[in-house]
């Protein structure tokens, strides 16, 4: 005796239909998520600009008070200076929690980190930065279903496209376990 499971499952759901406004609600939900994402990005940009402005304003006084720190160095640079986009990501992360310890970042591609970032299958392969921060983070801006908890974690990885395009590549991964970026490229470290 055999069971036509395919036919049974189709028959079991043939008379059932979703609400007529399901697509409209999903679109509304999708627009809200996009709006939240833009607000998050805008807020982070404002924070980064403020940080740069604050640093520039204090640069002269720091130079006057600590001339030795600004003397030309004879040592070879041991680390690559983090790109502005990485610094911006750190500034964004600080709005979602506290950062402790050094920040790691790699230049890689969206497909290389697809397994880590749980990105969708249709994403184009574009250069991105993956920035790993440790501390305590609360993603207040994340979408949470009714009754759900706001995501929290101690390890945050922020994915940002190297170039400003609309091809995606951005994302956030929040975890409580250790995260190793070394499989995805050369890891650079700096103190935030």
């Amino acid at each position: 005796m055999t069971l036509d499971l395919r036919q049974e499952m189709h028959a079991a759901t043939a008379e059932l239909n979703p609400s007529s406004d399901l697509v409209a609600r999903a679109q509304q939900d999708g627009r809200r998520r996009l709006r939240l994402r833009r607000q998050w990005t805008l807020g982070a940009t404002v924070a980064a600009v403020a940080l740069v402005a604050f640093s520039a304003a204090n640069l002269d006084s720091m130079r006057a008070n600590h001339p030795e720190r600004f003397a030309p160095s004879t040592a070879t640079a041991s680390a690559i200076a983090p790109p502005a986009a990485v610094l911006q990501a750190v500034a964004e992360a600080k709005t979602e929690g506290t950062v402790s310890g050094p920040v790691e970042w790699v230049r890689t591609t969206s497909q290389k980190v697809a397994a880590l970032s749980h990105d969708g299958p249709g994403s184009p392969d574009i250069p991105i930065y993956a920035v790993h921060l440790s501390g305590h983070f609360v993603l207040n801006s994340a979408f949470v279903p009714p009754g759900g908890k706001i995501p929290t974690g101690t390890e945050l990885v922020v994915f940002i496209p190297v170039a400003s395009t609309d091809q995606g590549g951005d994302g956030v991964l929040l975890n409580d376990g250790p995260i190793d970026l070394s499989p995805y490229g050369e890891v650079h470290t700096f103190q935030p």
Partner: protein, 178 residues
């Protein structure tokens, strides 16, 4: 352009996605929530989806259903009264009752086995596509499929004949799906 193409996709995929969600979670309202979540994810990711949006949606559906299952197991709900589901969808009540056994049996399968069964038999995905949607290897899909079929045989037992149209046996080979 973006809006129209998504509208076309949503119009053609929503019912199928919702029915798959219903088979995955066994509850009308949870299936609605799940489908809305999946469609919203596809909406947000639409500019990045260069290939098949169905594949993206199926993967999102599998992940969301697994999350939903974990959430439900940690936060079990106490029904307000029996028969609520039938009361809110009266037109479908007969169908729900007629196939309640199948839904109940599916509900007894572990989450991944249930997902394999729904993706393979309801959504007609190949083993490779099922593995991609569940983010597991093809070997895992095969083993989960075999266990699911075994479980179904154990659970249905004598009732196999009652459900059986004698059409075909459970396929397990790659390419057997249309």
């Amino acid at each position: 352009m973006r809006r129209e193409r998504f509208d076309e996709f949503a119009a053609s995929a929503t019912t199928r996605l919702w029915r798959a969600a219903y088979l995955l979670v066994g509850d009308y309202h949870l299936a609605e929530d799940l489908t809305q979540d999946v469609l919203a994810r596809v909406y947000v990711a639409w500019p990045r989806i260069n290939g098949d949006p169905y594949g993206y949606a199926y993967r999102a559906m599998a992940n969301a259903a697994a999350n939903q299952r974990r959430w439900t197991s940690r936060h079990p709900e106490v029904p307000l009264s029996s028969g609520t589901r039938e009361a809110v969808i009266p037109d479908a009540a007969d169908a729900v009752v007629a196939h309640a056994e199948l839904i109940a049996v599916l509900g007894q399968l572990p989450a991944r086995q249930r997902a394999v069964v729904v993706l393979r038999y309801f959504l007609d995905l190949t083993e490779t596509d099922t593995a991609d949607a569940l983010n597991v290897s093809v070997g895992t899909v095969k083993s989960q499929h075999a266990r699911a079929v075994g479980h179904l045989r154990d659970l249905l037992g004598e009732d196999l004949a009652a459900l059986d149209d004698g059409a075909l046996a459970l396929p397990s080979q790659e390419g057997s799906s249309p």
